[in-house]
C-alpha cells in the first residue's frame, strides 16, 4: 500500500509566534520551525499501516527552504522518500492554492492508495486543506479520524466530534485526516537520522508541477489579511466570593464557558 503523508513545517508552539508587519503573513524567521506535531502523528499512522500492509511512504511538504528540516524529521522517523515543493512564488498562498499545489505534487507519485494529512495545521488552522484536496483529486474524504484501519481496499475510520463518534468507510484510494488522538508518534532513532541522509528528496517548483505562478502566492489568494493585532494579554481571573452559594456560582461559570 503506497501512502503519501502531507507534512507542514510550522513555528514551534513552544516559542513566541507572530505575524510580519509587511504583509501579515506568518513571521517564519522569528520562531523555531518544526515538523507540525499533528503531522508527526500522520507519519506515525502511515508507518504503522506500512508495517501491516507493506508499500512505500512518501512525504510531501510545501514550504520554504528550511522545510527540509521537517522533511528530514519525517524521513528519520522512517518514511521512504520525500517531495519538497519550494518556490518563492508560493509565499502567502491561501488554502485553495495550497491544496492545488499539493494535489499536483501527489499526482507525481505512482499508485497512491492513501493520502494522510493532519486535521488542522497548528499555525494556519484552516482545517480545510484535506477536504479541498480530496475534491481536487476526486477521491473520497474521511476526515478528523481518531482511528484508522485498512481491510483490503476499504478504509475504515472513527471520526470524533463534540456531537459523538461517527464510523466511516470508503474505498481506496482516499484522503484521510487525523486528529491528535490517533496515536503517539515514535521518536526517530539516531540510526534513523543517519539513514535519512541517504533517502531521496526531490525538490520541485510550481512550474515543475505545471502550475502558473500567478495562481498561487499572495497575488493568487482569494482573500487578504488587511490588518492584524496581537491578542490582548490575558485578563485577571474572575473572583467568586463564597456567601454560601459559591458552589452554584462556580457551576454557572463553568456552564457559561461550555465546560459542563
Amino acid at each position: 500500500m503506497n501512502i503519501v503523508v502531507l507534512v507542514k513545517q510550522v513555528p514551534d508552539t513552544w516559542s513566541e509566534r507572530k505575524l510580519t508587519d509587511a504583509d501579515h503573513t506568518l513571521d517564519r524567521e522569528s520562531a523555531d520551525a518544526v515538523l507540525d506535531e499533528i503531522n508527526e502523528r500522520a507519519v506515525e499512522e502511515a508507518l504503522q499501516l506500512q508495517e501491516a500492509h507493506g508499500g512505500e511512504v512518501t512525504v510531501i511538504a510545501m514550504g520554504p527552504d528550511r522545510a527540509t528540516d521537517a522533511i528530514r524529521k519525517a524521513l528519520s522517523m522512517g518514511a521512504d522518500k520525500a517531495i519538497h515543493v519550494s518556490d518563492e512564488a508560493l509565499h502567502g498562498s491561501d488554502v485553495l492554492a495550497t491544496a492545488k499545489v499539493l494535489a499536483k505534487a501527489i499526482g507525481t507519485v505512482e499508485n497512491v492508495d492513501l493520502v494522510i494529512a493532519g486535521n488542522e495545521a497548528t499555525d494556519g488552522r484552516a482545517g480545510a486543506v484535506p477536504a479541498i484536496l480530496a475534491e481536487l483529486l476526486g477521491l473520497p474524504q474521511v476526515t478528523q479520524l481518531r482511528k484508522v484501519t485498512v481491510e483490503g481496499t476499504t478504509i475504515k475510520g472513527e471520526r470524533e466530534t463534540d456531537e459523538g463518534v461517527a464510523f466511516l468507510e470508503a474505498s481506496l484510494p482516499a484522503v484521510v485526516s487525523v486528529t491528535e488522538k490517533i496515536n503517539e508518534p515514535r521518536y526517530p532513532s539516531f540510526k534513523g537520522i543517519m539513514a535519512a541522509k541517504k533517502k531521496p528528496v526531490s525538490t520541485v517548483t510550481v512550474a515543475d508541477l505545471g502550475i502558473d505562478a500567478s495562481e498561487v502566492g499572495l497575488s493568487g489568494a482569494y482573500t487578504q489579511v488587511l490588518e492584524a493585532a496581537p491578542k490582548p494579554p490575558r485578563s485577571a481571573g474572575q473572583r467568586v466570593e463564597d456567601g454560601g452559594d459559591g458552589g452554584s456560582k462556580i457551576a454557572e461559570f463553568l456552564v457559561g464557558q461550555k465546560l459542563i
Partner: protein, 379 residues
C-alpha cells in the same frame, strides 16, 4: 537562554534536536518526582537505547553512533540539563562499554558489543572498594583462575547501577602486585553469587542507585577477560580519562539548567518595584554564572577535540572535570541565592541541582585527585 551550540555536521544538529525533544518531553517532567521518591528510572534508559543514544561515541559496525566526543558530550550535556541521574547513568554506561570497545578482541567485540551499544542493556563500572577509593591499586577483590573459569570473591563499593545493571566492567586482582596485579573483566549482571546491597542513602542523585556489589564465588568464563591479566588498572584509568569528560559535560548541563532557572526567576520576581534582574548586584551574580557555564563548556570541548584527533588528553580531561564540576557547584549554589527563600524550598529545582552538583566533585576521581593528575602532567 538555552545553550547555543556550534555543531560540526547536519547529523549532529539532528541528533541534538532529538535529544532535546526527548529531554524536554520524556525526562525533565519526571525528574523531580523520581528524585524525591528515590525511583530509579530504568525505563528512561530503555528509551535512550531504542533511540540509539547509549552507544553514540562507538563504531557504527558494532551498533554505535560513530560520533566524535565533541558531539556525544553535547548530547550528554542536554540530558544532564533535564535530569542528572539519567545523564550520569548514560555516562557510566558509555564508560562501561569502553574496556571491551577499546581493549577487547574482535571476537569478544562481535559477541558482546552490539547488544551493549544498540540494545536496551545498561552497564555498570566496578572499580572502587571501601578501602580503595582514591587509591584503586589498594583493591582486594580477587579473581582466581580455575581451568577455563575465573572465580571472583570480594566487595565493590559505590557502584552506580549495582543490582540494576545487565553487565559490569569489573576490575579485580589476579596477582598480589599492587598496580600490575589487577585485571579487567566483562562480568554478567545476573549470575550466581552476585548480589547488590541496599542502596546508599545519598544527599543528591537520589534517583540513581549507588550500592555495594558483593561477589561470592562468582564464576564466569576466561573469555570474559578484557586485555591481558595485569592490564586492569591501565584500562580502568584510560576509561576514566574519557569518563571524566562525560562528568564535565554533565556538570555543564546541570549548571546551564541552574542558570536558566535563575535568569527566568530574576526577570519575573520584583522587589523595590523592579524585576530583581535590574539590580546590578544581582545581575553581576548572574553574569558570573553565565561566564562560568560558558568557560566550562569551552574547556571540556577543547579536551574532547584533542581526543577526537587522537592527541593525548588525560591532563585536559582532568582540567575539564575540575573546572566544570567546581563551576557547577558554584553556579547551582548561586542559583539558590538568586531565588532567595523560594530557592531553598523543594518547590523549585535549584536546591536539588545544588545537591546534585556536589557529587560531581567527588566521583570518577575527587577534584583533589584531578589536581594530582594535572600536576603529574606538569612534571
Amino acid at each position: 537562554m538555552p545553550a547555543e551550540r556550534l555543531l560540526p555536521t547536519q547529523e549532529a544538529e539532528d541528533l541534538i534536536a532529538l535529544v532535546k525533544e526527548i529531554a524536554r518531553d520524556e525526562l525533565k517532567p519526571h525528574a523531580a518526582d523520581a528524585e524525591e521518591n528515590e525511583k530509579f528510572p530504568r525505563e528512561a534508559f530503555r528509551l535512550l537505547g531504542r533511540s540509539g543514544l547509549l552507544g553514540l561515541p562507538y563504531p557504527e559496525e558494532f551498533g554505535g553512533g560513530e560520533q566524535p566526543y565533541e558531539v556525544y558530550l553535547q548530547a550528554l550535556e542536554e540530558v544532564a540539563s533535564a535530569w542528572m541521574t539519567v545523564a550520569v547513568g548514560l555516562s557510566v554506561h558509555v564508560m562501561s562499554c569502553y574496556g571491551l570497545a577499546t581493549f577487547g578482541t574482535r571476537e569478544q567485540q562481535d559477541r558482546w558489543l552490539p547488544e551493549m551499544l544498540e540494545g536496551e542493556l545498561l552497564g555498570g563500572y566496578a572499580l572502587s572498594e571501601v578501602q580503595a577509593g582514591s587509591d584503586p591499586a589498594a583493591m582486594s577483590t580477587r579473581a582466581v583462575r580455575q581451568g577455563d573459569e575465573y572465580v571472583v570473591n570480594g566487595t565493590k563499593a559505590w557502584i552506580t547501577h549495582a543490582g540494576a545493571a545487565d553487565f559490569y566492567t569489573l576490575m579485580a586482582r589476579t596477582s598480589p602486585d599492587a598496580g600490575r596485579g589487577i585485571s579487567c573483566f566483562l562480568a554478567p549482571g545476573e549470575t550466581e553469587g552476585l548480589t547488590a546491597a541496599t542502596p546508599e542513602r545519598k544527599m543528591g542523585l537520589t534517583g540513581s542507585i549507588t550500592a555495594q556489589l558483593q561477589f561470592d564465588d562468582v564464576r564466569f568464563g576466561t573469555d570474559r577477560l578484557i586485555g591481558n591479566e595485569g592490564d586492569g588498572l591501565k584500562i580502568a584509568l584510560s576509561a576514566l580519562d574519557s569518563g571524566r569528560l562525560g562528568i564535565a559535560a554533565c556538570a555543564v548541563g546541570l549548571a546551564q539548567a541552574a542558570l536558566d532557572e535563575a535568569v527566568a526567576y530574576a526577570k519575573t520576581r520584583t522587589q523595590f518595584g523592579r524585576p530583581i534582574i535590574e539590580f546590578q548586584g544581582l545581575e553581576f551574580l548572574l553574569a558570573d554564572m553565565a561566564a562560568a557555564v560558558e568557560s566550562a563548556r569551552a574547556t571540556y570541548l577543547q579536551a574532547a577535540r584533542r581526543r577526537d584527533r587522537g592527541l593525548p588528553f588525560r591532563q585536559q580531561a582532568s582540567i575539564a572535570k575540575l573546572i566544570a564540576t567546581d563551576a557547577a557547584m558554584k553556579v547551582t549554589t548561586d542559583a539558590v541565592q538568586v531565588l532567595g527563600g523560594a530557592g531553598y524550598t523543594r518547590d523549585f529545582p535549584v536546591e536539588r541541582y545544588m545537591r546534585e552538583a556536589k557529587v560531581l566533585q567527588i566521583f570518577e576521581g575527587t577534584n583533589q585527585i584531578q589536581r594530582l593528575v594535572i600536576g603529574r602532567g606538569l612534571r
